[in-house]
């Protein structure tokens, strides 16, 4: 019974974890500009993330150590420092975008400009981290994020062409504006495969005391959680393709997204979208701030746990406190959530090689994984994701310049 509860909570967390400012924004942009054509990029992102989460979860359950621990221990100080800087910078930028996302949702709800909300959101987020346990952070906001199921209802009520949608799972060449098409494809991949997602998942497995008995739970939650989360992001692409694309509406400001579900769901669609954006971005804010603290504390061997009182791990608590407050600055200065989001998603894609490629060695090291090393399916998937990550590393910045505007 306990295992089933954990699986259910894990799937819910997967939905909440996947859907955040990046996946909502990039999916809406993709749908409004290229209809269903970029669905394949989302599917590729979801499958890649599911594999990476399954592997980092398995690594933690078998070795009782987090992925960050093993990065430092097996690859040494120099490589770890490069990975740390890359993931830290990208995670901080995504955190800035998430705080901007919560502020924008509150602006849509109240009419008060998002800049005014940035600091209160950061302080509220810090208070939850300060007082809350890992379970509250992981599952609390994710459960509220179930509101996002309304996206799927909205997409179905918008009457998509199921045949065309099915065909869009196979990649196709863009008919117009190829630089923008590939830029959005990279943004979707960056939003889907954010390093903080699997670093947080791996730290969570250790926080929750996973053992090898949890390998089944790990497989189901990483697979189904991301599948459901990805389905809701797909609902955003579909609805944007059916509502915005025919009216030639391009997403230039986040506030435009408020009308996305009004046509299929009525006025309730507006409020459901605003509430979902607010909750999922707030949940991601907590997860990313914690991820940054996990990354640094685990890398340097400091005491760390979200379940301990802050004075028991002062350096760890200081890192998430400073991170969340610093990340509020751009939104407080009026920098829009959408521009922060697009930039951070592309950089997120560019940072992937530093955390994806080392997994090949770790997941095949018998000293670490015992008899739970990767099988051939996982290895083919991991090598494919590594090749994809190298390609993203090289194309991300040129595409940001040519297709970002």
């Amino acid at each position: 019974m306990k295992k089933w509860l954990e699986i259910a909570l894990g799937i819910v967390t997967g939905i909440g974890g996947f859907l955040e400012v990046g996946s909502i924004a990039t999916s809406a942009q993709a749908g409004s500009e290229f209809r269903y054509q970029l669905v394949w990029a989302l599917a590729l992102g979801v499958i890649s993330l599911a594999f990476l989460m399954e592997m980092t979860g398995r690594l933690a359950a078998v070795s009782k150590r987090t992925y960050v621990d093993l990065l430092r221990e097996h690859f040494g100080m120099r490589f770890f420092l490069v990975a740390l800087i890359a993931v830290f910078v990208v995670s901080l930028m995504v955190l800035m975008a998430e705080i901007g996302g919560v502020g924008t949702a509150l602006q849509m709800a109240t009419g008060i400009a998002f800049a005014w909300w940035a600091v209160p959101v950061a302080v509220l987020g810090w208070m939850v981290l300060w007082r809350g346990t890992f379970g509250i952070v992981e599952q609390g906001t994710a459960t509220l994020g179930l509101l996002a199921v309304s996206f799927a209802v909205g997409a179905v009520k918008a009457h998509p062409d199921w045949g065309a949608l099915g065909r869009a799972f196979i990649p196709s060449r863009p008919t117009e504006n190829p630089a923008r098409y590939w830029y959005l494809a990279v943004s979707i991949l960056g939003a889907s495969i954010s390093p903080y997602l699997y670093l947080f998942y791996s730290a969570g497995a250790v926080e929750d005391g996973w053992t090898q008995d949890y390998l089944g739970v790990n497989r189901i939650t990483s697979g189904l959680g991301n599948l459901f989360g990805g389905t809701l992001a797909l609902a955003v692409i579909v609805t944007a393709a059916l509502v915005f694309a025919p009216a030639h509406i391009q997403i230039e400001r986040f506030e435009q997204l408020g009308s996305l579900f009004v046509s299929p769901l009525g006025r309730a669609g507006f409020w459901l979208f605003v509430a979902t954006l607010c909750i999922t971005c707030f949940g991601a804010t907590l997860e990313i701030a914690l991820s940054i603290a996990y990354l640094i504390a685990q890398g340097f061997g400091w005491e760390w746990s979200e379940n301990l009182r802050p004075a028991r791990n002062s350096r760890f608590s200081t890192v998430y406190t400073v991170a969340i407050l610093v990340a509020a600055i751009p939104a407080a200065l009026g920098i829009s959530a959408l521009s922060l989001t697009n930039m951070s998603m592309v950089l997120s894609a560019a940072s992937l090689p530093f955390t994806v490629i080392p997994l090949i060695a770790l997941m095949n090291d018998g000293n670490v994984m015992g008899r739970h090393c990767n099988g051939w399916i996982s290895n083919i998937a991991l090598i494919s994701i590594s090749v994809l990550s190298i390609a993203l590393f090289f194309v991300s910045l040129p595409l940001q310049i040519t297709g970002g505007g």
């Binding site: 070795s63 009782k64 150590r65 621990d69 430092r72 221990e73 040494g76 100080m77 120099r78 420092l81 300060w130 007082r131 809350g132 346990t133 340097f300 061997g301 400091w302 005491e303 760390w304 979200e306 379940n307 301990l308 009182r309 802050p310 004075a311 028991r312 791990n313 002062s314 350096r315 608590s317 200081t318 000293n367």
Partner: protein, 130 residues
């Protein structure tokens, strides 16, 4: 400490996470010092923990950067470096357990300072588990 048969220094000890006698994480093995006494085999004598030691592993630019920061703060170059005798090692496993009190080590100075001066003064910070 029992005999270290089969332990590979680079694989099992270098960069491993360290716990003190109370089970608290106190850092990582940032470097190891070896002692050569005439007529005896080379011996691992000391575990080094701290930023100045890590900087040496990163490169001279990091050593210079840290040196400049240390000079600004009027600290010695190896301020905050802990030197723990290797004989304090109790167990080498997923983490290395040391027979020391981590709270008294120089490398835990920042943890203590933050706890005493900032974090510890904020309501809700004290106690064991949340």
């Amino acid at each position: 400490m029992a005999a270290l048969d089969g332990v590979q220094l680079v694989h099992d000890v270098q960069d491993a996470c360290l716990c003190d006698r109370n089970g608290r994480r106190i850092g990582r093995v940032d470097a190891l010092a070896l002692t050569l006494t005439e007529g005896k085999p080379l011996r691992v004598s000391t575990i080094l923990i701290g930023g100045a030691v890590r900087a040496e592993r990163v490169g001279t630019w990091m050593v210079r950067l840290r040196g400049a920061i240390a000079a600004m703060l009027h600290h010695d170059r190896d301020f905050g470096v802990s030197r723990v005798p290797f004989s304090a090692v109790r167990v080498i496993g997923g983490t290395i357990e040391l027979d020391v009190d981590g709270a008294t080590l120089p490398s835990s100075r920042l943890e203590r300072w933050l706890g005493d001066h900032i974090i510890g003064h904020i309501p809700g910070s004290q106690g064991e588990n949340k």
